[in-house]
């Protein structure tokens, strides 16, 4: 009796899981087929194979071992694919161009998860440190970085470089920590100027309570106020941030609209789609809406025309379509899916390039050798400008000063290990809810 019962219960759980899997499976297959967001066709680009997974026989000084620490599960999982593709593509291209120190690179991919699941990140970091990786790429969330940083920077010290951290607190926090995401004052400057120059002086900010959101808000508010504007909602110290786990936005939208703003900035992540719905149904003119790098992405599932005229800012000059095509091809080949977002792909790509070139310049794949070469490689010594691994490698090998500039177009690292400058692109949504490049400003 007990036996058959056990069998039944097991069978059921397996069966229900399988049913869910099957049901969801059809959803999955049919969605991945059509993503209007991904423009360039992939057929023209030869896809490179993914770098191998490191094994314990890979020597820590001669093999460049990249540990990735990116959000694969949890509430930031939607930001994973961009960074995964950027880092993966960089490694594949490095391998194609001869590898680091003449050997192919390898990778250990781990999950950083989110702040709700700190044990995942801790396990991943334990694994990466145990494997004595050359450097760690990640995390995307500032909070997650802050959670593991003391482990990473403790003796002997491992280089950690984030493609997406924007928290001010991280500036100059450790000699081992770098980031390729420009300080968000750069973006705020561009965003604030754009809003003011569009004739809007009363700005409502829908901001989520997260270091990313509040830091960008603080900086944007400064620019708006400096130029004679006011922040009618969501200003610093007003307690109007919404929790990052929120799923219904009617009260926030009512509140912001009650302040009669000329323009609204949506300073959020994946909550944005629900916010758009709440704003648009409340009759808000969507063209007076501004997006930020955390949510400037295509919204192919919304009805055409929903976002027409809305604007947004993100790092980088005009996104290079050839670069996007390479990312697409790499992701389809190695991860079996189409990319729907390019968030932090360029920053991850450049981060890996900088690490690899620093290892070449330092003649060793250890963090100790890489760390001192990071600043020069990023251009702090005004070396010869080079734009690809193939172009920079001879300079690095020869010991010449060089300055790598890649698709993220950030400037050299400053003393706080932040990019000293960055280009911010300004984009405008078209009737397909995708966005077009308008202009770029340097900050």
């Amino acid at each position: 009796m007990i036996k058959t019962l056990r069998g039944r219960a097991t069978l059921t759980i397996v069966g229900v899981t399988a049913l869910a899997v099957a049901l969801a499976g059809c959803a999955n297959n049919s969605t991945s087929g059509s993503t209007p967001g991904a423009k360039p066709s992939t057929s023209t680009v030869a896809a490179l194979p993914k770098a191998a997974t490191c094994t314990s026989s890979d020597d820590a000084t001669t093999t460049f071992k990249l540990g990735t620490f990116l959000p694969l599960t949890g509430s930031l999982a939607f930001l994973g694919p961009g960074a995964v593709s950027g880092a993966g593509l960089a490694l594949s291209e490095i391998n194609k161009d001869g590898g680091v120190l003449g050997k192919p690179t390898c990778t250990i991919d781990t999950d950083s998860s989110d702040t709700d699941n700190p044990t995942i990140g801790n396990s991943s970091i334990a694994k990466l440190l145990q494997a004595k990786v050359s450097a760690i790429l990640g995390a995307e969330s500032s909070s997650v970085t802050e959670n593991v940083l003391s482990k990473v920077t403790a003796s002997p010290g491992t280089v950690m470089i984030s493609p997406a951290n924007t928290d001010d607190k991280l500036t100059g926090i450790s000699k081992w920590y770098f980031r390729t995401a420009p300080n968000n004052t750069v973006e705020a400057n561009a965003l604030g100027s754009q809003i003011i120059s569009d004739g809007h002086t009363k700005v409502g900010i829908l901001v989520f309570n997260d270091p990313y959101g509040t830091n960008l808000r603080d900086a944007t508010q400064k620019i708006v106020e400096k130029n004679g504007g006011t922040v009618t909602y969501g200003a610093t110290g007003k307690g109007q941030e919404f929790p990052s786990t929120q799923t219904t936005f009617s009260s926030d939208v009512s509140a912001v609209l009650a302040t009669k703003p000329d323009a609204i900035v949506i300073d959020a992540f994946d909550q944005t789609q629900a916010i758009i719905t709440a704003l648009a149904s409340a009759g808000w003119t969507m063209k007076n809406t501004y997006f930020v790098d955390g949510n400037l992405s295509a919204y192919p599932k919304l009805a055409p025309g929903t976002l027409t005229g809305a604007q947004g800012t993100t790092q980088g000059v005009n996104p290079n379509s050839a670069f996007k095509a390479r990312l697409d091809a790499w992701y389809v080949k190695n991860e079996g899916k189409k990319l729907t977002t390019y968030s932090y792909a360029a920053e991850s790509y450049d981060a890996v390039m900088l690490l690899a070139l620093s290892a070449d310049a330092g003649k060793s794949a250890t963090s100790a050798a890489i760390q001192p070469k990071m600043l020069p490689a990023s251009g702090s010594t005004n070396g010869t400008v080079c734009k690809t691994y193939a172009a920079c490698l001879p300079l690095a090998n020869a010991g010449t000063d060089f300055h790598y500039t890649g698709p993220s177009s950030i400037g050299p690292f400053n003393a706080g290990h932040d990019p000293s400058t960055g280009y911010i692109g300004i984009y405008k949504y078209n009737s397909t809810n995708n966005f077009d490049f308008v202009s770029a400003v340097k900050g």
């Binding site: 219960a9 059921t12 759980i13 069966g15 229900v16 899981t17 869910a20 049901l23 969801a24 499976g25 959803a27 999955n28 969605t31 209007p36 423009k39 949890g74 930031l76 930001l79 994973g80 100027s193 754009q194 809003i195 120059s197 004739g199 809007h200 130029n227 004679g228 307690g239 941030e241 919404f242 786990t245 799923t247 219904t248 009617s250 009260s251 939208v253 009512s254 509140a255 009650a258 789609q273 629900a274 758009i276 719905t277 648009a280 149904s281 003119t285 599932k301 919304l302 009805a303 055409p304 929903t306 005009n318 078209n430 009737s431 397909t432 995708n434 490049f437 202009s439 770029a440 340097k442």
Partner: protein, 447 residues
């Protein structure tokens, strides 16, 4: 009725296919155009680069309408003045190639009648490869002969209060729809089902699968979704909860089994649907009436009310409904009375998951999407609602849900917006301190 309007516009959306394709093509081509040479020629353009900065602004009136044909003059630190007339977008822009202090002034004599400008000139510090914005605050409106009907701050605030109250009712009804099942299952089996939230998510996910992916009509998709969700309740009870009840697994253990199930389901959704929200329809409806409420919101609230009344009548007036209450009251006695408790419980599971699925569908339609974690975020609100109203009483769940919904949606009128959920939970704890059995609960259940 609203559904049919929606579905008509869905099928009508084929009209968009051609323009969409054209726009896509254009967008694709546009990416090949080098920086700075964007295609829009009608508006004067300026792109900052190493040798260029843009001084720019837009003249808008109080209604955010562009103010055209106004002369704007730029006085550089050295060299001749430049003057430009705003176009149909109200925008003016000057490209400059030297950093320094620039003065921008608006020729007030060219302003349309009724419009006023407090400060007519501004001095800007301009750096190269950047955008120097200048805002001129124009008062008055062009459409209403310069007479602006401004709503007073008080009436705006009152409107907001009503607005948020209405949103609260809407949220409360949806939570009620979702949590009555939780309450019924709790009442009849004693199980606190932590996976109930994932049943709500399932509604949104299946709704997306049928409407968003397979393109079925919204009504059809919703009906199929609710039926499938109810089916999951049947299967769960038949193969998991029923046998475990029979085996006498403790309630605490069972509760932890539901936590396991909820973890498994959350990540199953994430695995297949990804991390971002998925919506059943991309069409965003406009609000109707004085409040920000879309037709679908009204419809959802109506459906919720009808279903809740139906469930209430079922429980109060029908033989099976009374038997359900009897099982909630006293399972052993119900069995001793000849009621087939297992069948009642199975029925309760079916109703519970079906209602949760319906709640998920409506939630997804009203809020514009459903994410793998949406249910999870609602779970505590649902538990709070059920406990507040009185554990195991269906009507209590309704009352509790309405309170929780209104509190969540209105708390930001007085408290920090990020304390919404905390406020609801504080109220829960306060009520339990005074009345542990909940608002409609009975004292004998709690000891």
């Amino acid at each position: 009725m609203h559904f049919s309007r929606l579905s008509r516009s869905r099928s009508g959306s084929k009209k968009w296919v051609l323009p969409t394709l054209v726009a896509l093509l254009l967008a694709f081509l546009a990416t090949f155009i080098p920086v700075g040479a964007t295609a829009s020629a009608a508006v004067p353009t300026c792109s900052p680069d190493a040798t260029t900065a843009c001084v720019r602004g837009t003249l808008l009136d109080d209604d955010s309408n562009a103010v055209a044909k106004v002369s704007v003059t730029l006085t550089p630190p050295t060299g001749p003045e430049e003057t430009e007339v705003t176009g149909s977008t109200g925008q003016w822009v000057f490209s400059v190639h030297e950093k320094g202090q620039y003065k921008v002034s608006v020729d007030t004599s060219t302003l349309p009648k009724g419009l006023k400008l407090a400060v007519a000139s501004k001095t800007l510090t301009v750096a190269l490869s950047s955008l120097a914005p200048a805002a001129f605050d124009i008062t008055g409106s062009q459409t209403s002969d310069g007479h602006v009907v401004q709503q007073s701050a008080t009436s705006l605030y009152l409107l907001r209060v009503w607005q948020q109250f209405a949103s609260g009712l809407r949220l409360g009804l949806l939570i009620a729809l979702a949590s009555i099942g939780l309450s019924l299952v709790y009442g009849t089996t004693g199980l606190s089902n932590f996976a109930h939230a994932e049943q709500v998510t399932l509604g949104g996910m299946l709704g997306f699968t049928f409407a968003g992916v397979l393109g079925l009509n919204l009504i059809v998709a919703s009906v199929i979704t609710v039926i499938l969700c109810a089916l999951t309740g049947y299967l769960q009870d038949k193969f998991i909860w029923g046998p475990l009840r029979k085996r006498g697994l403790g309630l605490n253990q069972l509760m932890i089994v539901t936590i396991g199930l909820s973890i498994a389901l959350e990540y199953t959704y994430q695995y297949f649907y990804g991390g971002q929200p998925v919506a059943m329809t991309g069409i965003i409806q406009q609000n109707t009436g004085p409040l920000y409420m879309t037709p679908i919101s009204y419809l959802s609230m109506a459906i919720a009310v009808v279903v809740l009344v139906a469930v209430g009548l079922f429980l109060l007036k029908t033989r099976i409904g009374r038997a359900t209450r009897a099982v909630s009251d006293n399972r052993a006695l119900a069995a001793a009375s000849g009621i087939d408790v297992d069948r009642i419980i199975r029925l309760v599971w079916i109703i519970s998951t079906g209602l949760a699925g319906l709640a998920g569908v409506l939630y997804s339609l009203v809020q514009g999407g459903m994410q793998w974690s949406t249910g999870l975020q609602l779970l505590l609100l649902m538990f709070a609602a059920v406990t507040l109203g009185g554990l195991g009483t269906a009507f209590g769940a309704l009352v509790g849900s309405m309170i929780i919904g209104v509190v969540v949606e209105m708390s930001n009128l007085v408290l920090s917006a990020d304390l919404k959920y905390a406020t609801a939970l504080v109220i829960l704890i306060l009520v339990l301190l005074v009345r542990p059995q909940g608002i409609l609960g009975r004292r004998e259940r709690i000891g």
